[in-house]
Symmetry: C2
Subunit: 342 residues, 2 copies
């Protein structure tokens, strides 16, 4: 087994297309990169899927876990009862240092709860944030085509200092992953006026603006989310979750236009082919399942959450994002951002 870099633990049983898509994604990665993965889950099923595809056995290890937390299972009860779930077993590999990061496409709420239980919070951090990436327009050269949105559901309400922490951690992560020196941080709100949105958002605005380590660009409105105005967008979990799902569903409309082409008449097919470049902008919104996942921030270890609908390509991308984050020590950058602030 090659071990130039610590391995990535992959929850083989997490996601709507698990374990098949997860195992295939990891198999692809094993052929085309030097990344070592540990697939955690039902070892017999994992091996049987591997036997049907091409893979490099030197890059893949399997660790058995006998239980699975379902994608729509009530998370608290599941994490409490299923101690041998693939998610928990994979997290323990990370906690013990056997692996450097976890990738899971499974139940997001369970991943947040289990990660808080099995891993250590960064010193000074009060709440973890679940981040997501989404495509937006790029308004200057070198800007990532993806923006980071957090929190999208790990929290319900956040205090202003918690939103500032999310900003520091999100910017540190974006700096490492997107190679942008000073990611532009914005606060999602109902107006540009710093006083808008109530006392908490106004206080968060002031604290973000005063923070020397942040490139804070002010409030961002709903209609600006798809612009290149910000690289890191901050909000409470309920709001982030609703915005993310809405972005995804509206993007899906554009995809529906194209995937159903086969069932439509020739006029439609001709139109679609000619229009292809035009709908790209919208289609990108729904394609983001393939963008490789985003971190749970606030923990001493890296956890990358891939989209629950991840296919093999999405899983491969998420594993590559995790490996990049490990190689460039995103965990240390994120920890340093918060410690520097505390």
């Amino acid at each position: 087994m090659l071990a130039a870099m610590p391995a990535i633990a992959v929850d083989a049983m997490g996601g709507q297309h698990a374990p098949e898509a997860v195992v295939q994604g990891v198999a692809d990665v094993s052929l085309h990169t030097g990344i070592e993965c540990v697939l955690v889950g039902d070892s017999a099923r994992i091996q049987s899927i591997l036997d049907g595809v091409a893979y490099n056995p030197e890059h893949i290890d399997i660790v058995h876990a006998g239980e699975v937390i379902g994608i729509d299972e009530e998370p608290r009860e599941a994490v409490r009862r299923k101690r041998d779930a693939s998610l928990l077993a994979a997290l323990r590999l990370v906690a013990r240092g056997r692996c450097a990061a976890l990738v899971t496409a499974g139940n997001a709420a369970a991943a947040v709860l289990a990660a808080r239980e099995e891993l250590t919070l960064l010193p000074g951090v009060r709440q973890v944030a679940l981040a997501s990436v989404y495509p937006r327009n790029v308004d200057h050269p070198g800007q990532d085509r993806l923006a980071l949105l957090l929190d999208v559901g790990a929290t319900v309400r956040c205090t202003p200092p918690e939103l500032v922490q999310f900003g520091l951690m999100g910017a540190a992560y974006a700096r490492v992953i997107s190679k942008v020196e000073a990611p532009r941080v914005a606060l999602l709100n109902m107006g540009h006026d710093p006083a808008q949105g109530g006392a908490d958002l106004a206080t968060a605005h002031r604290q973000l603006a005063e923070h020397a380590d942040l490139h804070f660009v002010g409030n961002i409105l709903g209609n600006e989310l798809t612009s290149g105005r910000a690289d890191v967008v901050l909000c409470e979990g309920v709001l982030g979750n609703i915005v993310l799902r809405l972005l995804e569903s509206v993007g899906s409309m554009a995809v529906d236009l194209s995937v159903s082409t086969a069932q439509r008449n020739w006029r439609w097919r001709a139109g679609m082919a000619i229009m292809a470049s035009g709908v790209d902008q919208l289609r990108a919104l729904a394609d983001y399942a393939s963008y490789g996942g985003a971190p749970i921030l606030g923990l001493a270890h890296l956890v990358i959450k891939a989209h629950r609908r991840s296919n093999a390509l999405s899983i491969a991308n998420a594993v590559k994002v995790a490996a990049k984050a490990v190689r460039d020590d995103a965990a240390r950058a994120v920890a340093g951002a918060v410690v520097g602030a505390g």
Copy 2:
């Protein structure tokens, strides 16, 4: 002057295309309906615009107001200082009974503040809600192609009883305007589990579910907003504002695809023409500026807020919505819904 029905006061100076678009919209209405309008604003400018278009003078009155509240002006200060603003003058016509409703496409926050000042809150109502309509898919015959979303910015945070009031008022309004016997009311949240989204949303869910006068269908997620699942969607103002603007901007992408056709090559034009029916679903999202406006709910009088970007058609539609609401006594229905609940 015909006066089969009380007149509609129209803020001639409100909106990005005011006063031209507003006056033209009212002129159109005067030719094709029996609705009487009172245009409030700079009387010389209003008359000069009217002189350039066709209109029926029997259906239009002008009331002069010497000041204008700008579309992006700080609302509190503007409402306090500009006592002769067209918005305030128009509201006073409603408060005094000269007009039965107000239509304005101007500064939304100023409209809410001024309406709270010049008009009376319904007994038992604690907060007014600014509603908006947006297009969504229809999943059964007779369902309105528009859903009502509230609050979209009059409030910041709402208590559970306030969200229940919004539900009662929104359903009463939708019942009158959409002619749906029992509008389906839903709570915007991050999951279907009634306990999700924090204590306030969980309590609101319980109170909505227990309310005998409401057809409550549970939580609605971000990705379900464009479905036909609910006719009235409830949320706090910051969230509603962000969702509304996001819906609008993503829809605008689809419109951009078509309005810029002239600048594109023939392939693009051909594709666009063939695709027309396919992009309708998305384009509808951005066209909603023309849907005629939505009410500020919680007041003893009718105030219809039209989109700030309203053109003449949008204004005409908003005036017709206001006239329909007056004719069918939406104000009484809304008041009765809350009193019945108190």
